[in-house]
Each structure stands twice: as C-alpha cells, then as structure tokens.
C-alpha cells in the first residue's frame, strides 16, 4: 500500500467567504468550466430544437406527394440549415458542453488549462451561431446544402448572400472549435491529478482527447476550403471555377478531408459517454479498457484516410476507389471492437436499466444498424446506386441520431444529477426513451426502403405515381412522434429543475472522480486535489477491488469522497482566477468583423481597400481585447 501512504496534503487555503457569484454579468464574465459547459449545453440544446423544428417542416412538406406547403427555394434553405444547425450548432457544441463540464472533473482538475480561452470559445460559438441564423431575417438563408459543393456556391449560381452567411458563419465556428480543442488537449496532458496516468483516464476523457486532436488536424482543411471560396466570392478569383482554370473537385477533397473526420468528431464523444454509463449500470469495469483506447485511436487515425468514399460517384478511377473502399471497411474493425466491448461489459453484469442505461444500450443497437449500412456504402457499386438517395439519409441519421443523439441524451440523464443536484423522474425518462426509440425508427427505417426505391434526397416534392407516398407518410408520422418525445424530455427537465429529488454526491454508485464531490460541484471542484491509485478510483475506494460487484467494504484506504467532504467541511476557500470580460469582448470583435464581411454598408475606402465600418470596428475591438487579455492579471 505504498502508493497510498502519502495522504493528499491539504494546502493551506486563505479563508475568505465568497458566495458563488450570481447575476447575468457573472455568467457573461465567467471562466468556470462548469458554467461554460452549461452555457454550451443550453445554447446547443436550443439549436437542437431549432434544427428539429426545421426537420419537422421538411417532413410536413414531404408527408404527401406533390405537396405545395413549402416552396422549392424555402425547402433548399430548410435542408441546408437543418444539416448545418444539427452538425455545427447542436451536436458539436453539445459534446463540447460535456467535454467542458465533465472532463476536468474526471481528471481531478479545478478547471481547464486556459480558462479565459475556454470562455472565448463559448462566445465565438454563440456569435457564429447567431451569424448563420440571422440569415433567416434577411430571407437569405443558406440554400446550397450543408457541404456546399462548388461550383454551386460560386457567384454565378449563388449571387445572393445566402452562401456568404454560411461560409462566414462556419469559419467563425471553426475558430471556436479549434480554440476549445487546443485547451482540452493541454488540459488532459497537463492537469491530471497525481496518479492519474494516461491509462487510468476515464474513457470519456480519452474520447475528449482524441476528438480534440482530430479537430486540430481536420478543421484547417475546411478553413482553407472556405478561405478559397471567400476569395472566389469576394475577390473574383477562380479556385473552383472551371472557366478560370480552377477545379470544383478541389472543394470536394478539402471539404471531405475535414468532413469525414468530422463524422468521428461527432460520434466518438457519444461512444465515450456510454463507455462511462454501461460499466456503472452493469456494475462491472469496462471490458477491454486498453483495447477501447486503442480502438478509439485507430478510428481517429483511419478516419483521416477515407474521405474520398464520399466521392465514389465522382469518377476518381478504380484504383482510388478501391483504396478508399478498403480503408473504409477497415474502420469497421475498431468500431466492431467497441461494440463487442460494450456487450462484453454488460455480459453477466447486474444490469440496472435506468434511463441513461436505456439510451446507452439504445445507442449500441441503433448505431450497429447505421454502421452496417455504412459498410454497404463502402462497396463502390452499391454506393453508386445509393448515392444521393434516402438510403444515405437513413444511414447517417442512424449514426448521428441513433448514435450521437442517443449518447448525448444518455449523458444528460447520467450527468444531469451531477450538474443540477437533482434527479430526473425515471418514469417519465423511460417514456421519453421509448417514444424516442419508436419515433426514431419510424422516421428513419422506412427511409432505407425509399432510398432503395430510388427516392432522391433534396427534392422538395415527388410525383403521385412514384409510389413513395405511403412510406413518406409513415416517416412524417414518425417525425411527429420524435418531436413529441422532445416535448416529454423538456417536461422532464422542467420537472427535474422544479421538483427533482436531491441527487446526493454519487446517485449511481459510479466509479470516476466527479462522483466524489457534491452535486452540483463547488466552484473549485476539489477542495483537495485528489490522489489517484486506480483506474476506477471510486470503486476501489468503496469496494477495495476495483470491481464494482465485490461488495467488500474496504475501510483501510483513504476514500477520495471522504477526503473531499472533510476538506470541504473545513470551508476551504480555494482562490480562483478572476472573471474576465475580455474573452467576450474578443469574441464580439471577431463576430463584428464577420458581420462586416456580410454587411458592406456603410463603408470606408482606404486606397484599394473598400472596407465596411463593421470590419474596422471588429478588428480594432479584437486587437484591443487580445492585448488587454494578455496583460490582464489572472488573479
């Protein structure tokens, strides 16, 4: 027991009494990773509902053949904004919310490495989201599809500002994702509690690390793709114009070099979430922890080498198609390993089907369906038939809804009690799960049939005699059920916030460090930085053998939770860095600059440059904030 001989020492703390700051100013200037995580989560949840509403409008239009509820032009805007909103404004920031809230707690840290940079990421995301969505108010919503293929995005085909809102908004969101990812990687490498070796990191933290690294390497490709598009649209270059010597395929390559890793950026956090949930509710440590880590790394690595499978029908030639098809199939192996590990964890476990567990198991089952249709597309001739049909829509909704959204919902039910200190109503939660499950399958399973029957995606309507009417009616009905399930979820959130039972520190008898502290955690997280001796530290504390099922009370070792309670009882006042409004100001500067690129009037002419006033104001604000930030004492 040498490793636990040193008791974690309690650093002498200045005893000051500061109440947690409240009021809107404290939220605008906060640099607390938990508050930032909550703001990410709440704003992303709003956009999830907005994107869902757009989907419902799409389904209303497609509910019957030759419907004229929505014009073709409006329909283009709806499917473009649905995809863009869900990927960039709902799912990515929701995962970012989890990264922010949970990861520092899991590694025993008091915050991320760069708390102000973290606040900057949040505000930049919010400004980017606003920029894309104000397009609705100008009746110029993006209408070119979420992957904006050239030359459709060129000025010849898209003369309005629709594409500009999208192009500039995504660019701004990229800044937010990159800044957050740098921060998370440094945090995980550098702020681990003593004893928290890399191979003791909770799998969710591993997912955070891998996904952040993927973002760091994937986003520059779309940054460049969008910059070249900006030059084409604003300065008249011809990077994607055939007549000017450009090649529209360059866009497709750059976009999918980002776009395919993006798929894993969306799914791996959900995998990480359920890798925490399934062991807890099976009362068994995760089966094959290290294999799980290696599988995640393998998926991330291979994910960068398969982009051209989105381009099989472009005509790259048999060699390229064969190589990318093979690489794509290879990804099935580490993904399959993960599925088996989750099943292996549940095997002979004492299972508790809480709502969180239901969504986690729901992910395993539904993702397998999406994964299998994914392997089908890896076969080039099959893809040639399914490309641009509803089969593809079915596939990626099984992956992104059946996978990512199920995982995120599982995470909300699992960590919600930690963040709010209150329990969800499990009975309503189960209603929520089954409504989601049934609605999801009613919505997306028939799309497989529609796709195989030849129904193309992105068409705003279809003919009476196509025979697609009945299944479309079913799909639209399923979408209504799915929409209703979210109303049930909203009611459950409301009920939890208003009337939830107190959660206590560790409602699920879980294994990771975040459950050793109060719910919600104090601003400083840990009164004493914990010392880690085992992978599933809290189970080791509680049961002595690191296996949740041992039921052996282990009284001889210091318990992480007890140490925290005792230190908290002594009213430690850990000095926290001061709040700062410079991250918000810097983000506002960037946002103003981006708006200036969209709104050219009023403008000032300097030499050859014709600069909108907003651009100048934005750049000035950005430069001022960055300098003020750099010279601001942190605490």
């Amino acid at each position: 027991m040498a490793s636990i001989a040193h008791q974690p020492q309690i650093v002498p703390q200045p005893v000051t009494t500061t109440k947690p700051a409240t009021g809107i100013w404290s939220w605008l200037t906060t640099i607390d990773h938990k508050r930032i995580g909550l703001m990410y989560g709440i704003s992303a949840f709003f956009f999830l509902l907005l994107g869902g509403f757009e989907a419902l409008l799409i389904r209303a239009q497609l509910a019957q053949p030759e419907n004229d509820l929505i014009s073709a032009q409006r329909y283009n805007e709806l499917f473009t904004m649905h995809g863009t909103t869900m990927i960039f404004l709902a799912l990515m920031p929701l995962t970012s919310g989890f990264f922010n809230y949970v990861m520092p707690l899991q590694i025993g840290a008091r915050d991320v490495a760069f708390p102000r940079l973290n606040a900057f990421s949040l505000w930049v995301f919010i400004f980017g989201a606003i920029i894309i969505n104000i397009s609705w108010f100008f009746n110029e919503a993006p209408n070119q599809g979420w992957y904006g293929y050239a030359p459709l995005t060129g000025t010849a085909w898209s003369p309005g500002r629709n594409v500009d809102f999208w192009m500039i908004g995504i660019q701004v969101l990229g800044v937010a994702s990159m800044a957050a990812s740098f921060n998370f990687v440094v945090t995980i490498f550098n702020l681990r509690a003593p004893g928290m070796k890399m191979m003791r990191l909770p799998i969710f933290t591993w997912s955070t690390l891998i996904v952040s690294i993927m973002i760091i390497f994937a986003f520059p490709a779309i940054t460049v793709a969008l910059l070249l598009l900006s030059f084409d649209r604003y300065a008249g270059t011809g990077f994607y114009e055939v007549a000017a010597g450009g090649d529209p395929l360059l866009w497709q390559h750059l976009f999918w070099v980002f776009g395919h890793p993006e798929v894993y950026i969306l799914i791996l956090p959900a995998f990480g979430i359920i890798s925490e949930i399934i062991p807890v509710f099976s009362r068994k440590p995760l089966f094959g922890y290290s294999v799980m880590v290696y599988a995640t790394i393998a998926i991330a690595f291979l994910g960068f080498g398969v982009w051209a499978h989105h381009m099989f029908t472009v005509g790259l030639g048999p060699t390229a198609n064969a190589v990318f098809a093979g690489a794509t199939m290879l990804i099935g192996i580490p993904t399959g390993v993960k599925i088996f590990n989750w099943v292996g964890t549940m095997f002979r476990g004492s299972l508790r089907f809480t709502t969180a567990m239901l969504f986690a198991v729901g992910l395993v089952s539904q993702f397998v369906i999406g994964g299998l249709s994914g392997v089908m597309h890896a076969v080039v001739p099959v893809d040639a038939q399914q490309n641009d049909t509803y089969f593809i829509i079915a596939h990626f909704h099984y992956v992104l809804f059946g996978g990512t959204v199920f995982g995120l919902l599982a995470g909300i039910y699992f960590w919600g009690p930690k963040a709010f200190g209150k329990m969800f109503d499990e009975r309503i939660g189960k209603w929520h799960f089954w409504l989601t499950f049934v609605g999801f399958n009613l919505t997306f399973f028939p799309m497989h049939f529609l796709g195989l029957a030849g129904m193309p995606r992105r068409y705003f309507t279809y003919a009476e005699d196509s025979g697609w009417g009945p299944w479309n009616a079913v799909v639209s009905f399923g979408a209504l059920v799915l929409g209703f399930s979210f109303l049930v979820f909203l009611y459950n959130i409301y009920k939890m916030v208003r009337h939830g039972e107190p959660a206590g520190d560790d409602p699920w008898d879980a294994a990771t460090l975040e459950w050793a502290i109060s719910s919600p955690p104090p601003a400083y997280n840990f009164a004493v930085i914990p010392t880690v001796t085992h992978r599933d530290q809290l189970w080791w504390d509680k049961y002595g053998d690191e296996h949740g099922h041992a039921h052996v009370q282990n009284d001889d070792v210091p318990k992480t939770a007890e140490i925290q309670r005792e230190a908290n009882a002594a009213h430690p006042h850990v000095h926290l860095p001061n709040p700062s409004y410079f991250p918000l100001l810097a983000a506002a500067g960037l946002g103003t600059f981006a708006l200036g690129m969209l709104f050219m009037n009023p403008a000032i002419t300097i030499g050859l440059l014709h600069l909108p006033v907003l651009v100048i104001v934005g750049v000035a604000l950005l430069i001022f904030s960055v300098y003020a930030w750099a010279f601001e004492p942190a605490g």
Binding site: D111, V186, N190, T223, F239, G245, D247, A320, P633
Partner: protein
C-alpha cells in the same frame, strides 16, 4: 486578491497567467511541459495542416497557367516569365537569418541580458520587416507587370499562398515588437524567458514554411512542367484531380 496563496492556475501549473513564474521556475504539470508551450506546439501542428492544405492547392494548380497559356487560353504573365529567383533568394536568406537572431534573443533573456534581448528581438523584427518589404515590392511589381490577384489560376494560387505566409510573418513582427515594448517597460524578467521561447517557436515555424514555399513555388522550374511534375501528376490523377 493578489496576495492570495495560490492561484488556481499556479496550483496546476498552467501558464495562462504571465505571473505564474512568480511562484515557481518550473510550474508543476503532469507532463512537466509548460502548458503554454504545449498550446503553441498544438497550434503549430494545426497550422501545418493549414499551410499543407494551401500548398496542396498550389501544387494542384502548379503549371496549369503555363499549359493553358501554351494552348492559347488564359491570360499571362505565367510563372516562368515573372518569378525572380535571385531577388526572392535574397529575401528568403533574410528571413532565415532572422531565425538566428531569434535564437540569440532567447539566449540573451535566458542569461538575463535584457539589452541583448531587445537588440536581437529588434533585429529579428527588422529582418522580418525587410522580408515583408520584399514581398510588398514583389507583389507591386507583379501587379504592374499585369499579374493581379484575378489574372489567372497561377496568380490566384500564388498571391493567396504567399499572402497567407506574409500575414503570418506580419503577426510575428507585431508580436516581436510587443515583446520589445514589454521588455523596455520592465515586464519581461529572466524567469519569463518562456514568453520569448513561445514567440520563437512561432517565428521558426513561419521560417520553415517559407523554405517549403520557396522551393515549391520558385525553385522548381515551370518550363519543363511535364517531366518535373510527372510524379505529382500521377498522384493527382490518383485522387481525380489530374
């Protein structure tokens, strides 16, 4: 609050705050690496992909303007007519020498030589400014010879690629001058050499990128496109861009 025992970031060894070094020369971190230095390495990794994408774009279109011109399409001037290798070699040499002065600046602050720090930082910034002046002159000369941003696919890709490199150098110059001013006001102590080291990492990276750009854009000849770019064309055909 300044007298409070330990800031959160100090307790964790993160370097977001400039005064972390007040408390310890080597703030503790799980890896032993300074957090800000790690952040810069990650940023540079990302910037590699940024320039990688831009350079890939350049290589895809490299020689296209020459071929189109020979085929009687598209506008001139084309690269082999206009690129001035001796001139750009001199400015490339100037930029490379600035890496040397950057190293000397870091060595000065690490030895507590503040005057040396300011001299070498100033020299680095000055060399950077000479390079940027060279680029400005080059761009202007090209413009007067009829090569504007939108003239042909060569000018598109040339101005955007080298322009973004120039923007990186400009940010570096502003950073270096800021460090000189901070040092003059006594805000850069010997134990804060990390502030200079991180700026140096960025500066050296921008230099290295220029070596790649200089080779690919200027040094490899354009007039014999078919033989020289055979390998590249094969690779491009592979991904459908040839």
């Amino acid at each position: 609050m300044a007298q409070a025992v330990a800031t959160l970031e100090h307790a964790h060894g993160a370097g977001d705050i400039p005064h972390a070094a007040d408390h310890a020369d080597h703030p503790p971190s799980s890896t032993g690496l300074d957090s800000r230095k790690l952040l810069m390495w990650l940023f540079l990794a990302s910037d590699c992909m940024f320039f990688g994408s831009l350079i890939a774009m350049y290589m895809i279109y490299r020689g296209d303007a020459e071929r189109m011109f020979l085929a009687g399409q598209g506008a001139g001037p084309v690269p082999h007519e206009i690129l001035d290798i001796p001139y750009t070699s001199i400015s490339a040499f100037v930029l490379l020498m600035s890496s040397l002065t950057m190293v000397l600046a870091l060595a000065s602050i690490q030895r507590g030589n503040h005057r040396g720090l300011r001299i070498w930082l100033g020299a680095t910034a000055a060399l950077g400014l000479v390079f940027m002046g060279g680029q400005f002159y080059e761009f202007t000369a090209f413009y007067h010879e009829g090569l504007g941003l939108t003239t042909n696919i060569f000018s598109n890709s040339f101005f955007v690629l080298t322009g973004f490199h120039g923007a990186h150098v400009t940010i570096g110059i502003i950073w270096l001058i800021s460090l000189v001013i901070v040092s003059l006001r006594g805000g850069l102590r010997q134990d804060q050499a990390m502030n200079v080291e991180i700026a140096g990492l960025y500066w050296h990276f921008v230099d290295i990128v220029w070596i790649v750009i200089f080779t690919l854009v200027y040094l490899i000849p354009y007039d014999d496109v078919t033989t020289i770019t055979e390998g590249a064309e094969h690779a491009l055909r592979f991904i459908g861009l040839g």
